[in-house]
Amino acid sequence: MAGPAREPLRPLRLFGVFFRIGALNELQYRANFAIQVFQSVIALATGLAVIGLVFSQTTHLNDWTQPELLAVMGVHILMGGVIQTFIQPNMVRLMTDVREGTLDFILTKPEDAQVLVSIREVKIWQAVDVLIGLVVLGVGVAQLQASIGPIQAIAFAVALLLGATMIYCFWLILTTGAFWIVRMDEIHELFEGVYQSGRWPVTIYPGWLRISLTYLVPIAFAVTVPAEAITSRLTVETIAIAAVFAAALVVVTRAWWRFGLRHYSGASA
């Protein structure tokens, strides 16, 4: 039985436990893996067809070349895989729990509720997209004829981590709204639609749209900034803004979550 002092790494250990359980659960359904691969390949083929169509009419989009756009698409698929594996399943389950009152079972456990609701679901077959994204990214980068030094690689990893953090915060902020607006199932349709905008570098969108896709829905930080990092377009400013914005979002999300939790009425209400 754990002592009264909180171990600082307990959330990580818990994540490991939930990951193993989730993985064991999904591994029973190996046919789902084949289906997921099939669906991801179809989606990939469609994305490539679109890029092919665009580049049958032009040689560059703004100042992004075809390999660079492939890299953007790779990051988009990769980040999409991360969201579908780790973030979205948890948020959907949280919405259901709030609606049905079963969030009580989380609140009574001896661990921080935000940690628990964020790590308990893992859909490992969606990680196929992470692999496909990496492959597409690799192909794009290989065609770039510019070498990837350790600085780009580190910048890329940092940008990805910051981007994923911001998407998680965004999702949790939205899902916390479920404490007031109980039926929020359409939110993830809305997000899926808006996330498609990350397929292209946000610099091509008109000003008002670009700002919204940066600070309102952090697609730019999730996809374009890591893509810029790996294609050597990233400036120190951008990564600094990303870090500051991510830190601010984490703080705001935490405060908003705790505020929302106070308004949760529970199963017996």
């Binding site: 009419q57 032009t58 989009l61 199932d185 939110i187 349709e189 639609g193 498609q196 091509i204 749209l209």
Partner: protein, 278 residues
């Protein structure tokens, strides 16, 4: 003791009454979920806005047009797209699994009309709610993207028929596709292949004139073009009258093919149905 005999209603009156009632129920139901409908519509608007921005950017880079289409014409195409896309929404083929599994279909089979009329009527009614909710979105999009749209009266009339034709073609075709669920539950890959073909060959992704020639010829013989590209082009493309009327005729043909397909496949499909619930 028997109930007093009621005057028999002819089939036309009967079906008309059934449809009007279904539509009224749909309007009353869906109007309660205005916010949910709006969330869905706004998320759905992201797709054409992205295509619009990408192709307008290319057009501006290439000196003002690509494939003969200017940014203003792309804006017109994709804004009309949003209405056509909404008119295209029908009972999803994925919905068959729940219908069969939960036995919901049993209730529908007890009715004296073919179950497809329930879906056609309900979604048709929903369209009226959707059209009303869509108007402000169209106004905002037009203000943001400045479409180049000057339809002639014949364009508007043909468009009004074409969007309902599109709705009917898609309804019957996806009813047939959905019935695959009677034979297998692993329907995801099959459906996804069809939807991908539709995305690429219907005019949903780009105006069909920008697709390679082989794709355009393929699109001519498939029903997808008549559910998406044709209604949009009818309003924005300034097509000659014979092409407009020819398009409506093709829609009628695909509706007829689909209707026959529904009758034939349904006869085999319903034999596979056995449920314990509902």
């Amino acid at each position: 003791m028997t109930a007093p005999a009621r005057p028999a209603v002819g089939p036309v009156r009967g079906y008309l009454d059934y449809y009007l009632t279904s539509m009224r129920i749909a309007i009353a139901t869906q109007f309660q979920y205005r916010v949910a409908n709006y969330f869905y519509m706004i998320g759905m608007v992201a797709e054409p806005v992205i295509y619009l921005v990408v192709w307008s950017t290319i057009a501006r880079q290439q000196g003002g047009e690509v494939g003969g289409i200017t940014p203003g014409q792309f804006a017109a195409y994709y804004i009309v797209w949003t209405l056509v896309r909404n008119m295209n929404i029908i009972f999803t083929p994925y919905g068959w699994e729940e219908r069969i599994r939960t036995g919901e279909l049993s209730g529908m089979l007890l009715r004296p009309v073919h179950p497809i009329h329930a879906d056609l009527g309900f979604f048709a009614g929903w369209k009226f709610v959707v059209i009303v909710l869509w108007l402000p979105i169209a106004v905002v999009l037009s203000a943001l993207f400045q479409p180049d749209l000057q339809p002639r009266p014949i364009d508007v009339v043909v468009f009004a028929f074409a969007i309902w034709g599109a709705y009917l073609i898609r309804s019957v075709n996806y009813w047939i596709l959905g019935m695959v669920t009677f034979w297998t539950t692993r329907v995801g890959p099959i459906f996804q292949l069809v939807f991908t073909a539709e995305l690429l060959l219907s005019g949903r992704l780009v105006p069909l004139s920008l697709m390679p020639d082989w794709a355009q010829r393929l699109a001519d013989v498939l029903p997808f073009k008549w559910t998406f590209g044709f209604p949009i082009e009818a309003l924005v493309g300034r097509l000659p009258a014979p092409e407009l009327l020819g398009g409506l005729a093709m829609q009628a043909l695909w509706i007829a093919i689909g209707a026959i397909g529904v009758r034939v496949v349904w006869r085999f499909a319903v034999r596979h149905y056995g449920a314990v619930g509902g």
